[in-house]
C-alpha cells in the first residue's frame, strides 16, 4: 500500500518541530491527546463553555436567582422584562439601574396594571441580603445572600408571569429540575445499557442472541407514544416528587437500547482487537483485561454517547411537560414553565413567557456541540 497521506494513527510528532515538543507528544497519555485534539475544536469548546454556565446555575440557583421560584409579586403581574441600563436622558450612571414600577387597579376590569415610572431609578445592588433560603431544599446551609437585587422595590429582568412570579428566577430553578432529570434519566439508560450491552458483548453466545432480539423487538415498538401512554397512566393524585421519579424512569427507559447496542458493538470489536488478544495470551485474567485494556478503550466512546444522548432527554421532558403529561406544577421545569405559553394569544400578549425556551435551545446546542467535539477527539489513535 502506498499512502498518499499519512494515516492519522501513524502520525508522528514530526509536526511539532522542536525536540521537546516531540518528546511531549511521544509521552502523552490518552486524555492529553484527547484534550489537544478537542481544544482545536471551537464549537466543542463553546459547547463546554455553555454547559459550565448551566452547571453553575444548577448548583447556585438559590444564590443567583433574585427571588424564590414561587414568590409572588402582586405589584407586577404579567409584567414585561425590565431592562437594566446605564444611562437615560437623565444622564449616565456607573451602577446599572431599572425604573421603578407603580401598579394601579383598572377600574373596569379590576386587573392590576403596572406602569413604569421613568423618573425613578432603582439601582442594582450586588450580594444583597434579602429573603432567606435553605440551600438545596435541605438544611445544609441557610443564607439570605443573593447575587443581585435592587435598593428598593423589585427587579424582574425577564418579566413576570400571570401570577407575578419572576421568570428569571423560575428559569434558574427549572434549569436545575430539567438538567438533573436529564442526568438521572441518562444514568438509568446508561446503567441498563451497560449491563445489557456488556452482557451481550462480553458473554456472547446465547445471551447475546437473546439480548439482541430483545433490543430489536423493543426498538421496533414506537417508543414515544407508548411512553406518553405510560406517563398518562400515572395517577393524578400522586405527589410531585413521585411523578418526577416516574417520569425520570420512563425517560431513562427510552434510551437504553441505543446505548446497549453501542456498548455491545464496541465490546465485540474490542474483543477482537489484537492487543486484547495479546493481553489474553500474556495470561491476563478476565478482570485485568477488562479493567486494563477494554475499559480505557471504550470510556471515551461511552462519554460521547452519554453527552450526545442528553438533548433527547431534555427535549422529551420539555415536550411531555408542555402538553401536560410530564411534570406538573408546583414542580418547576422548562416544560412546565412553557405550559403557560401554549397559544398564540400568549405570544402576542406576553412574549417574554417564551424566554425559557432560549435556555432549552442553548442547553441542547451545548450538549450537541460538546458531543460532536468529543466524538472527533475521542479516538486519538485512529
Amino acid at each position: 500500500m502506498t499512502a498518499t497521506t499519512i494515516p492519522k494513527g501513524k502520525r508522528t510528532a514530526a509536526t511539532l518541530p522542536p525536540d521537546e515538543e516531540k518528546l511531549k507528544y511521544f509521552t502523552a497519555r490518552q486524555w492529553q491527546l484527547v484534550w489537544w485534539r478537542f481544544r482545536r475544536n471551537r464549537l466543542g469548546l463553546l459547547g463546554a463553555g455553555i454547559l459550565i454556565i448551566y452547571i453553575f446555575v444548577l448548583i447556585f440557583a438559590e444564590f443567583l436567582a433574585p427571588y424564590g421560584g414561587t414568590t409572588l409579586d402582586s405589584e407586577y403581574v404579567l409584567g414585561p422584562p425590565q431592562v437594566a441600563r446605564f444611562w437615560d436622558e437623565n444622564g449616565f450612571s456607573l451602577r446599572p439601574f431599572v425604573y421603578s414600577v407603580t401598579t394601579e387597579r383598572d377600574p373596569v376590569t379590576l386587573a392590576m396594571i403596572p406602569t413604569i415610572d421613568n423618573s425613578k431609578r432603582r439601582y442594582l445592588q450586588f450580594f444583597v441580603r434579602t429573603k432567606e433560603y435553605k440551600y438545596w431544599n435541605g438544611n445544609l446551609i441557610a443564607s439570605d445572600l443573593h447575587f443581585f437585587g435592587v435598593d428598593e422595590g423589585t427587579i424582574h429582568l425577564f418579566g413576570t408571569d400571570s401570577l407575578g412570579r419572576d421568570i428569571l428566577s423560575r428559569t434558574m430553578y427549572a434549569t436545575r429540575t430539567s438538567l438533573t432529570l436529564g442526568v438521572v434519566g441518562v444514568l438509568i439508560a446508561f446503567v441498563i445499557g451497560l449491563v445489557m450491552g456488556g452482557m451481550a458483548g462480553y458473554l456472547g453466545g446465547q445471551v447475546d442472541f437473546f439480548i439482541q432480539r430483545l433490543i430489536e423487538l423493543i426498538r421496533s415498538v414506537p417508543d414515544i407514544p407508548l411512553f406518553m401512554g405510560l406517563a398518562a397512566a400515572l395517577p393524578k393524585e400522586w405527589p410531585p416528587e413521585k411523578v418526577y421519579l416516574m417520569i425520570t424512569l420512563i425517560l431513562g427507559f427510552l434510551g437504553w437500547t441505543t446505548l446497549a447496542r453501542r456498548i455491545r458493538g464496541k465490546l465485540l470489536s474490542l474483543r477482537k482487537e489484537d492487543y486484547v488478544i495479546a493481553a489474553q495470551l500474556a495470561g491476563g485474567s478476565n478482570a485485568r483485561i477488562i479493567a486494563r485494556h477494554m475499559l480505557p478503550a471504550f470510556t471515551s466512546y461511552i462519554i460521547v454517547d452519554i453527552v450526545v444522548y442528553f438533548p433527547y432527554m431534555i427535549l422529551a421532558e420539555t415536550a411531555l411537560s408542555f402538553v401536560g403529561l410530564g411534570l406538573r406544577p408546583p414542580v418547576i421545569s422548562w416544560g412546565v414553565l412553557l405550559q403557560g405559553a401554549q397559544n398564540i394569544q400568549a405570544i402576542e400578549l406576553a412574549p417574554w413567557l417564551f424566554i425559557p425556551v432560549i435556555f432549552v435551545v442553548f442547553a441542547v446546542l451545548g450538549f450537541t456541540f460538546l458531543g460532536d467535539g468529543l466524538r472527533d477527539a475521542a479516538d486519538p489513535y485512529n
Binding site: L217, P222, V323, L365
Partner: protein
C-alpha cells in the same frame, strides 16, 4: 429473498403482539378500573347510589372479573374480529366512531412531513458533502443544529405568530372553516393540502436536520470509496458518477429509517396538534391521555403503533429491493 420476506413478516407479527400487550398494560394501569367509572357515570348521573352489587354486575358484564390474560384475549379478539375497540368513557360513544378520519389525517400529515424531509434533506445533504467546507455547507450545518435543538412546539408557535402577523391569517387547523365539517370532496382535499404544510414543516424539521446530517456523513464516506474513483477512471461524467454511485448508496440508510421516521413524527403529533389545534388523531390521543380515557388512548396508540410497525416492515422490504447485499443475504 422469499426467506428474508418471511423472516421480516414473522418479526412484524411478533412485534405487533408485543406492542398490543404493552398497550393493554398501559390501559389497565391507572388506578380504578373501567367498571368503577362506568358504574359511576351511568348510575351516579342518574342520581342512584352505586352499590357493591352494581359494581359486581358491571364487572361481570364486561368480563372484568376474569384474569388479565383472558381480558387481554377478549380485548384483542374484539379488535381483530369486530374492529371493536371498546367505549370511550370521555365521550360515551364507541371508540371506533371517535377515531374515524382522524387517523388518516395524522397519516397524511406524517407522510407529508416525510416527503418534505426527503425533499429537503437529500439534496442539501448531497450538496453539503460535495461542497464540503463551503459557505453553503456551513449554513446547512448551522440550520441543521438549530433544527435539532428547537423544540417543535416552539417552531409551531413561531410559525403561527408569523402567519398571524405577516400573512394575516391563522395557520392553525387542517381545514378552512367552510370545509371543517364538510364531507370529503376534491376542494376539501385541496384545502387540506393548503393547510398541511405548516404542521408538516413543524413536524419534519428535526427529522430533516437529522437526515441532512446522515446524508452528508454517508455521502462523505461513500465519496472516498474506491469504486467512485474507478468509475471516474472509466471516463464517466462527474454528475453521473456522483448520482449513480455514492448518492444511490447513501439513500439506503434513509430508506431503512422510514419506519423510525414515522414513529418520530407520530410522537410529535400530539404536541403540534395542541399548538396548531389540529383535528387529528394526535389531538384526540392527547385529550384521551390527559383525561385518562384509556380505551380511547389505547386504541389510538395501537393504531398508530400498527402503522409504524407496518412502516418498518415496508422499509425493510424497500431496503432489500435497493440493496442486493441484503437481498442476497450477504450481510
Amino acid at each position: 429473498m422469499l426467506r428474508y420476506f418471511a423472516q421480516r413478516f414473522i418479526f412484524m407479527i411478533i412485534t405487533l403482539l408485543f406492542v398490543s400487550v404493552v398497550i393493554f398494560i398501559v390501559i389497565e394501569l391507572p388506578p380504578g378500573d373501567y367498571a368503577e367509572r362506568y358504574a359511576y357515570r351511568k348510575l351516579a348521573s342518574a342520581g342512584q347510589d352505586v352499590t357493591e352489587q352494581d359494581m359486581i354486575n358491571v364487572r361481570h358484564e364486561f368480563g372484568l372479573d376474569k384474569p388479565a390474560p383472558v381480558r387481554y384475549f377478549n380485548w384483542i379478539t374484539d379488535i381483530i374480529l369486530h374492529g371493536d375497540f371498546g367505549e370511550s368513557f370521555l365521550f360515551n360513544v364507541p371508540v371506533r366512531n371517535m377515531i374515524g378520519d382522524r387517523i388518516w389525517l395524522t397519516m397524511a400529515l406524517a407522510s407529508t412531513a416525510i416527503l418534505l424531509t426527503y425533499a429537503l434533506a437529500i439534496p442539501i445533504g448531497i450538496f453539503s458533502a460535495l461542497y464540503r467546507h463551503s459557505f453553503g455547507d456551513y449554513l446547512a450545518t448551522f440550520i441543521g443544529y438549530i433544527g435539532l435543538s428547537l423544540p417543535n412546539f416552539m417552531l409551531a408557535l413561531v410559525l403561527l405568530y408569523f402567519s398571524v402577523t405577516v400573512l394575516g391569517s391563522s395557520a392553525g387547523g387542517l381545514f378552512s372553516e367552510e370545509f371543517a365539517e364538510a364531507a370529503w370532496s376534491w376542494p376539501r382535499v385541496v384545502d387540506l393540502l393548503e393547510h398541511l404544510w405548516v404542521p408538516a414543516v413543524v413536524l419534519g424539521t428535526a427529522n430533516t436536520a437529522f437526515h441532512l446530517q446522515t446524508m452528508r456523513a454517508t455521502m462523505l464516506d461513500e465519496l472516498n470509496q474506491l469504486y467512485v474513483d474507478a468509475a471516474r477512471a472509466r471516463g464517466i461524467p462527474e454528475w453521473k458518477v456522483i448520482f449513480k454511485y455514492p448518492v444511490r448508496i447513501a439513500l439506503n440508510p434513509i430508506v431503512s429509517y422510514l419506519g423510525f421516521d414515522l414513529g418520530k413524527l407520530v410522537a410529535g403529533a400530539p404536541v403540534v396538534a395542541l399548538v396548531l389545534s389540529l383535528p387529528d388523531a394526535g389531538q384526540l390521543l392527547l385529550q384521551a391521555l390527559l383525561q385518562q380515557d384509556m380505551f380511547l388512548g389505547g386504541a389510538i396508540l395501537l393504531m398508530i403503533s400498527t402503522m409504524i410497525v407496518i412502516g418498518v416492515f415496508i422499509s425493510d422490504l424497500m431496503l432489500a429491493a435497493l440493496d442486493p447485499r441484503i437481498r442476497l443475504g450477504e450481510t
